[in-house]
Symmetry: C2
Subunit: 141 residues, 2 copies
DNA sequence: ATAAAGCCTGACATCATGTCAGGGTCAAGA
DNA sequence: TCTTGACCCTGACATGATGTCAGGCTTTAT
């Protein structure tokens, strides 16, 4: 399929698809006589993965590592395992931090009566100097 | 305190602290006669928040909104509430997606035992249609 | 056969960050 | 007091991720 189709199906812009090809994150697809790139279902899946991972905050570099987890068949499985576990660990920490932040936001929302009166306890308590952010997510201090 | 101290205490580079000042994400601190910037505890808290949020994948723009949630006392609380809930929702989805990805990685690691390439559940879970793990802030329809 | 729509490459733009350079400032010791 | 190393300031250049626009072919539908 053409790049436009691939872009639409994956949510990755044509611009970025070409970019990912240039930096080697995805293999260069076959070209037709016209010079048009021709994508396969596998390419689409790879792009979808990249899009999802990107959404989740992974850097291009990390995505490259993740992709290798299952695309490099010659890799020693012990190495694969270590990498996967390291990533999982990292994700675990991120999940916790996000969940904590979310809880704080929910709490903030709950304590706002939500009417026209601009009165929000938490905001009030935080606009002072001592504000210490009642948000203790990720306090690695 | 000087910018170097502030940077060390917050994990935000001096370069970025100055940058955030320039784009208005943090207020311009007082200057000493020497021209040195002088940061307060409040500034440090703000920077810490920014660092954490950035780490969690929020864009500078989103962080600006988040900061306003508790720094703008004149905002109607209904608006504050809506924004907070929207963010919380977004975070909830992100948490789920990350948790799922983490689970896949753990599973991958577990099924990674011999010299054969292990089954890879990641492909299936991550290369599907972008519906369940898509985040609104990236789209506008 | 034409026009509309799609693809190609390449250049320029922006944003978040880093790093280096040239030049003041501070603080502690000789 | 003078020296020196650690710090700060501004500004410029670098890079990676993305967007958009331009000029020029290719496909497709009318």
């Amino acid at each position: 399929m053409n790049i436009g189709d691939a872009a639409q199906r994956t949510g990755v812009s044509q611009r970025m698809i070409r970019h990912y090809e240039k930096i080697g994150l995805i293999p260069a697809p076959l070209r037709r006589d016209s010079g048009y790139r021709d994508y396969s279902v596998a390419d689409v899946n790879r792009l979808r993965f990249i899009a999802n991972a990107r959404d989740l905050g992974f850097s291009i570099e990390e995505i490259g590592e993740l992709l290798e987890l299952w695309s490099d068949e010659h890799r020693a499985s012990a190495e694969v395992k270590a990498l996967a576990l390291a990533k999982a660990d990292e994700l675990g920490r991120k999940v916790e931090a996000l969940a904590a932040m979310r809880a704080s936001l929910v709490h903030l929302a709950r304590t706002c009566h939500g009417d026209d009166r601009p009165e929000c306890p938490i905001i009030d308590s935080m606009s002072g100097e001592r504000t210490a952010m009642t948000f203790e997510f990720a306090e690695d201090d």
